[in-house]
Amino acid sequence: MARSIFLEALVARIVGLEPSETVPEEVLAIVQDAIAKRPPALRKQVGLFLALLRWLPALRYGARFDRLVPDQQIAVLTWFQSAPISLLRKGFWGVKALAFMGYYGRPEIGSELGYRPASGGNDLLHV
């Protein structure tokens, strides 16, 4: 349950949800399923990186990631994105990709985004 709160906060900040919005259950399920399907070595790396993301902020803010306010969470993630060590930047990109997979990989998201491909797309070119 504690881990889910962390994941929820992380996904919310990465995807860009407002503090008043909640992360749909389906999104978290996709993320957790994607992690579970990765080969063991990669799963371990993801787990380690998530732990780092969760606990490293305590050094600066005195609290772990999911206990920070949104602006602080964003500041933490911004730091990771351009971190001086490429390993941290790559790890953050991987976590971002998982969050985006959960949010933008949902079948119903397309119509929310105005992305409406059609089997006969040529017929809609000049509509």
Partner: protein, 503 residues
């Protein structure tokens, strides 16, 4: 010999059914009339149209190795390549460009001329119905690229594509449910099968022995069931042609521990590292309707080493291709129908240290370091793509290396300073590649090549390679036509030499 493996005998076995394997199969198929037995062993399934209609993630998981996110060892880049009947021809967009003559000349392969490669490419352009789309089928995404380039005075050309009765679903990179894309799954493989070639799907080749393929057939739970029952087989042949792609072919040869000294095996891997660039317009555009790709600009090919092409991707792929996160990222994606996209391909040079290796389980691992030249090319591509976007009327542009998430028209005059080279950070700027090449490259020098100019592996006259792994260096153009041309040549060599080869 494994006691539980069934033995199957053929004269010619082809491993892989993509641009290379499919071509060899079709070219050698007429030999079946003379009693020559030919099989194609394909690791992936034979997809049915229903298999290709699912949502983005589910479809990618079925079609692509690692769902399209196969990482290089250092996790700096993802590689996208497919498996299945038709190989990566199922998922490419059909960009039909001939290799620049200068590249073939630079390859310096004795007996291989640009004229020969182009002549063979022409053959496949005819077979695959390659043609220019008429103006009424050009969507806004393509038109804006063309118009933006023209406004800037950049060279821009329409390239032909290999489609027939395309309905414009825009689904090319997740397979064509209409069978309109003329990949080997639609053209060469069915023709080969009609002439007697046996295509076995869900068939993983674990390793090669002396003129023997040790394989396992294992159903995946989707696609048409394999012709062979699940289980292990030893498939024996006079000739084996490896055409499993530039990652899987070297990996197979490496784990086979062949009795030949091949120090270059796996080395000189190239891939056209790429960026997917995105801009937002004030009005909605037709971008996901119609064929996604028709234009490219080689304005900077010579001077800065990159090619720019139109493209259009799906929500998740678009999301992960941008740097940044949070509110601005979400704003960009919130109106996908307002997005224009450009694909930037950098021309990477062949380096012995960029290579395919195998892990303890024999699976492929790619060691690849993005060179300073490629980083510079990609940054140049970002700057010039941004110019094209603004020239086309975009109201904001996202450049992954920029000092802010959104660039606006007012920033155009100072783009060079907004997109500094220092912003090209490994791990922050998402790099992907879908043109794996090299690893079993052609050449005369056995210390720096794996095959001769006819695709025969040095020291093993029965073993051939017929895919993009033959490329001595990157093609500097979308590679599928060149793969088919080289595979055509490999097939010609096999046809000519088959009577000489021992049983």
């Amino acid at each position: 010999m494994s006691s539980d493996a069934q033995i199957r005998d053929f004269d010619i076995v082809i491993i892989g059914s993509g641009a290379g394997g499919g071509t060899v199969a079709a070219e050698l198929a007429p030999l079946c009339r003379d009693g020559i037995r030919i099989a194609v062993l394909e690791a992936g399934p034979r997809f049915r149209p229903d298999d290709l209609r699912g949502p983005e993630i589910a479809a990618a998981e079925k079609l692509y190795v690692d769902g399209g996110g196969f990482f290089t060892r250092d996790r700096a880049m993802t590689l996208a390549f497919a498996r299945g009947y038709g190989g990566s021809t199922q998922v490419y967009t059909g960009t039909s460009l001939k290799i620049p003559a200068k590249v073939v000349a630079d390859w310096g392969i004795a007996g291989l001329s640009a004229d020969d490669v182009h002549r063979r490419s022409d053959k496949y352009m005819a077979q695959n119905n390659v043609h220019l789309l008429p103006e009424e089928l050009i969507n806004d995404n393509n038109r804006l690229f063309r118009d933006g380039c023209r406004k800037l005075g950049f060279r821009v050309e329409q390239f032909p594509v290999n489609i027939k009765n395309c309905r414009g679903s825009g689904h090319c990179n997740l397979g064509c449910e209409h069978g309109a894309k003329q990949g080997t799954n639609v053209v060469q493989l069915p023709a080969a099968e009609r002439q007697g070639v046996e295509v076995v799907t869900d068939c993983h080749v674990e390793r090669l022995g002396d003129r023997t393929c040790h394989v396992t057939v294992e159903p995946r739970g989707y696609g048409t069931p394999s012709r062979w029952a699940a289980g292990r087989y030893e498939v024996r042949a006079k000739v084996v042609v490896v055409a499993a792609g530039a990652i899987s072919s070297p990996a197979l040869l490496l784990r086979s521990r062949l009795p030949a000294k091949l120090p270059a095996l796996g080395r000189y891997f190239t891939c056209h590292p790429a960026l997917i660039l995105v801009a937002q317009h004030a009005s909605a555009l037709s971008n996901c309707h119609g064929h996604p790709k028709s234009y490219c600009s080689n304005q900077f090919a010579e001077s800065e080493g990159f090619l720019l092409e139109t493209c259009m991707y799906f929500p998740f792929v678009t999301a992960k291709s941008m740097a940044g996160f949070g509110r601005e990222h979400r704003q960009m994606l919130a109106r996908m129908d307002h997005l224009q996209m450009i694909l930037a391909l950098a021309f990477d040079h062949a380096s012995a240290s960029n290579r395919v290796r195998i892990d303890r389980q024999g699976g492929p691992v790619v060691d690849y370091t993005l060179s300073p030249a490629v980083w510079q090319s990609l940054r140049g591509a970002m700057v010039n793509a941004s110019r094209i976007f603004f020239a086309a009327g975009a109201e904001r542009v996202h450049a992954p290396a920029a000092r802010k998430f959104f660039l606006e028209p007012a920033d155009e005059a100072t783009l060079e300073s907004w997109i500094p080279q220092s912003g090209m950070l490994l791990g922050k700027v998402p790099i992907t590649a879908a043109h794996p090449m090299g690893g079993c490259r052609m050449g005369a020098d056995r210390s720096t090549s794996v095959t001769d100019s006819w695709g025969r592996v040095h020291g093993l006259p029965w073993l051939h390679v017929a895919d993009a792994s033959l490329f001595p260096s990157s093609a500097e153009a979308n590679p599928y036509l060149t793969v088919m041309a080289l595979a055509d040549r490999v097939a010609e060599g096999i046809r000519n030499r088959l009577p000489e080869l021992p049983e």
